[in-house]
């Protein structure tokens, strides 16, 4: 089942690539349909897993990453429908493929430890994953902004100018995605903080004890929060839009990815469920 899901994502990646290269509307529709099928199947897989284990499958890095992939796919499809713009897919879907591969290879069923048995858990994880999905979109939009910006600056309009929407549209989309992502990130962190405050006095779990600012998972996420906060501040106050904002959102998302995979898998002592 998970292998089939992964191959659907791979197929979507290939069709988006074909659509981008040939600018063929038929290939574009096929790409969207394939990705929609993958997202639908992913929904089904997550639903099955929820029924199977009796709670949302967010426990452990592989499950969290898979949930993130699903969210990002849905969020991307949503922007595609609302903006009628498929050019970004070629950048997003490969990311989905890579993350889903990582998740599939390391997938295992985990019995949730008693500490996670709390309504805060679902809120904490889902809002953070949603924030990450928004940041992923912002990053991709930022990268395409920079690509188009380069063509317009170098006065050699070509590949990207023919395929991407205008700089202004990309800039606005980037700003919105970062704004939404920042709200969810802040909410997710706040929920986590409050929950931890409640947990710490009463739990003996060493992982809860490790939840300090020094734990890589927590310090890195705070770093990404700082980067995104700065981007929003710079946009509003300094007038850093466009290319600088685009680079910041790319930097922010690379920190998020760092946190999601290497830190989440190997370094954290607090979030290794």
């Amino acid at each position: 089942m998970t292998i089939l899901l992964l191959s659907l994502y791979v197929a979507a990646g290939v069709t988006y690539g074909m659509h981008f290269a040939r600018r063929d509307a038929g290939a574009g529709r096929l790409a969207s349909a394939t990705l929609a099928a993958a997202a639908l199947m992913h929904t089904f897989v997550i639903g099955m897993r929820t029924v199977e284990v009796g709670h949302l499958p967010f426990v452990g890095a592989p499950a969290a990453i898979s949930a993130f992939v699903w969210l990002l796919a849905v969020a991307y499809l949503y922007t595609e429908v609302t903006t009628d713009e498929r050019a970004m897919g070629v950048f997003i879907v490969p990311l989905l493929v890579i993350l889903q591969t990582v998740s599939t290879l390391s997938d295992r069923v985990i019995e949730p430890p008693p500490v996670l048995d709390s309504p805060w858990f679902a809120v904490h994880v889902s809002s953070l994953l949603f924030a990450y999905a928004a940041f992923a979109l912002a990053c991709v939009i930022g990268i395409t902004y920079v690509l188009l910006f380069r063509e317009l600056k170098s006065k050699q309009l070509g590949f990207f100018a023919a395929r991407l929407p205008s700089l202004q549209v990309l800039d606005t989309m980037n700003g919105r995605a970062v704004g939404v992502g920042w709200l969810f990130l802040t909410a997710g962190l706040a929920v986590g903080g409050v929950w931890l405050f409640q947990l710490q006095p009463e739990t003996a779990d060493p992982r809860v004890a490790a939840m300090t600012l020094l734990d890589p998972k927590i310090s890195v996420v705070l770093l990404s929060w700082t980067v995104y906060s700065f981007e929003l501040y710079a946009r509003r106050v300094i007038g850093w839009s466009g290319r600088r904002a685009a680079w910041l959102s790319a930097l922010g998302f690379s920190i998020v990815l760092l946190n999601l995979v290497p830190v989440g898998y190997f370094l954290t002592k607090s979030h290794n469920f």
Partner: protein, 446 residues
């Protein structure tokens, strides 16, 4: 006489060089004056625009004249010959005709189909004819070119809708801003190019158009035309703060906006994107301003990158226009050949008329007995007979298929009727006399 063209254009030379060989800097009249005293050429027209500087001349010896014109061009503009030479192109004969017809119909323009070139060709010819440097051949060539230009515009979609440079600029503006509806435009300069671009921006429903020019009245006139408002020249820095798109097209010889000005404006506007379309030549905005973040500065040459797009869109019309031009070149060549055979035709007609007269003279004693009425009828009958006899040879000579055939026909007629030597008065036996072949072919062009 041969037609000859020597020039540089956007096809062969970069904007830097074209700026330096722009004849309008030292004046087309001055150039024509200097050309008219050069012994190698007979007629001359100087065509100079942002994108081309071309000399159309007629001459006897194209090889020597090309050399002479290259020297002239290099000296006149003070550009070393070695630097200029690689960018020069020359055409002779029918290629000149085709080139000018393509230029006049906008086929050779930077952005195909742009209409300004037509007016520029007209101006070039008007100036030359005022300066009396044109003759029969260039007169005919240019008036034909105007006809071709008009017909191409009327019968194809080549000149329709979007205007070249402006069109390219709008495509770019849309790539930067998306919809232009909430954008403010600043137009610096009130010339024809400024007006064209402003008109196109207006058609994109921009929010406002401010026009400024060193001449207040011209700014006001343009503002009225494009439904904008005029601002004084001194307000330019303030306008730079609010504009999203700035079009500069002044006739100024040095940049009117430097990098520092743009830099300061960009700081004050907190890096809101600014799209500068510099269509002035020489350039109006210091090219260094392009380094600034969020400044998109495009000059005429840069807009060339968008030409391919336009070309594709207009390819259908282009092939149609090209074939119209080809037809027109063909009919011009026919005119040239007909013109070449005119001396032969005149000689042939005179020959026949002389024969008729001499016969009438010979029969004078016999005709004397006739009534004046009958006498005049005889005269008329013989005249009509001669005319009828000449109809088909005249047509054939005028419309000979190609240059070679035309020359052959002329020669044959000259030989067969002995047109090369004077008609031997009363004697009728000139045919027996073996005349040497004519030393020169009947000239194709006068």
């Amino acid at each position: 006489m041969e037609l000859l063209l020597l020039g540089v254009s956007h096809h062969t030379a970069p904007v830097d060089l074209r700026e330096r060989v722009d004849f309008s800097r030292r004046g087309v009249t001055t150039a024509l004056g200097e050309l008219s005293v050069r012994p190698t050429l007979a007629e001359a027209v100087v065509l100079t625009t942002c994108n081309r500087a071309e000399l159309y001349v007629t001459c006897e010896d194209p090889v020597a004249t090309v050399r002479d014109l290259a020297v002239f061009m290099s000296r006149f503009h003070d550009v070393p010959k070695t630097e200029l030479a690689p960018h020069l192109y020359t055409h002779t004969g029918p290629d000149v005709v085709r080139h000018l017809f393509r230029v006049a119909s906008g086929l050779d323009s930077l952005v195909v189909g742009e209409p300004q070139i037509f007016g520029q060709v007209k101006d070039a010819y008007a100036t030359a004819s005022e300066e009396r440097t044109t003759g029969a051949l260039l007169n005919k060539l240019f008036t034909s070119a105007f006809g071709v230009g008009k017909r191409v515009r009327a019968d194809t979609g080549l000149g329709e809708g979007a205007v070249s440079v402006s069109y390219a600029a709008i495509t770019l503006a849309r790539k930067i801003f998306g919809s232009l509806e909430q954008r403010d435009v600043l137009v610096v300069g009130a010339g024809e190019m400024a007006e064209l671009t402003a008109t196109h921006l207006r058609s994109q429903a921009v929010r406002s158009i401010a026009v400024t020019s060193r001449t207040r009245t011209r700014a006001e006139a343009l503002a009225q035309k494009v439904d904008g408002h005029a601002v004084t020249w001194s307000e330019l820095p303030a306008q730079l703060l609010t504009a999203d798109i700035m079009v500069t097209a002044t006739g100024a010889q040095t940049p009117v906006i430097n990098r520092t000005q743009v830099d300061e404006a960009m700081r004050a506007r907190r890096n809101r994107p600014l799209f500068i379309i510099d269509i002035g030549l020489p350039r109006d905005v210091d090219p260094a301003a392009s380094d600034l973040e969020q400044v998109f500065l495009y000059n005429i040459d840069d807009l060339r990158t968008l030409v391919d797009e336009n070309l594709a869109r207009r390819r259908d019309q282009m092939s149609q226009a090209e074939s119209m031009v080809s037809d027109e070149v063909e009919s011009f060549q026919t005119w040239l050949r007909a013109r070449g055979s005119i001396p032969t035709l005149v000689a042939l007609r005179r020959h026949f008329e002389d024969l008729r007269q001499s016969e009438l003279n010979r029969l004078e004693p016999k005709l004397n007995g006739l009534s004046p009425e009958a006498r005049s009828r005889v005269d008329e009958i013989t005249r009509l007979l001669v005319q009828k006899l000449l109809i088909s040879p005249t047509e054939r000579l005028k419309n000979a298929g190609d240059e070679q055939t035309a020359a052959q026909y002329s020669e044959v007629v000259t030989q067969l009727f002995g047109l090369a030597e004077p008609l031997a008065g009363e004697t009728t036996s000139t045919d027996e006399h073996t005349s040497p072949p004519p030393k020169t072919k009947t000239p194709v062009t006068s």
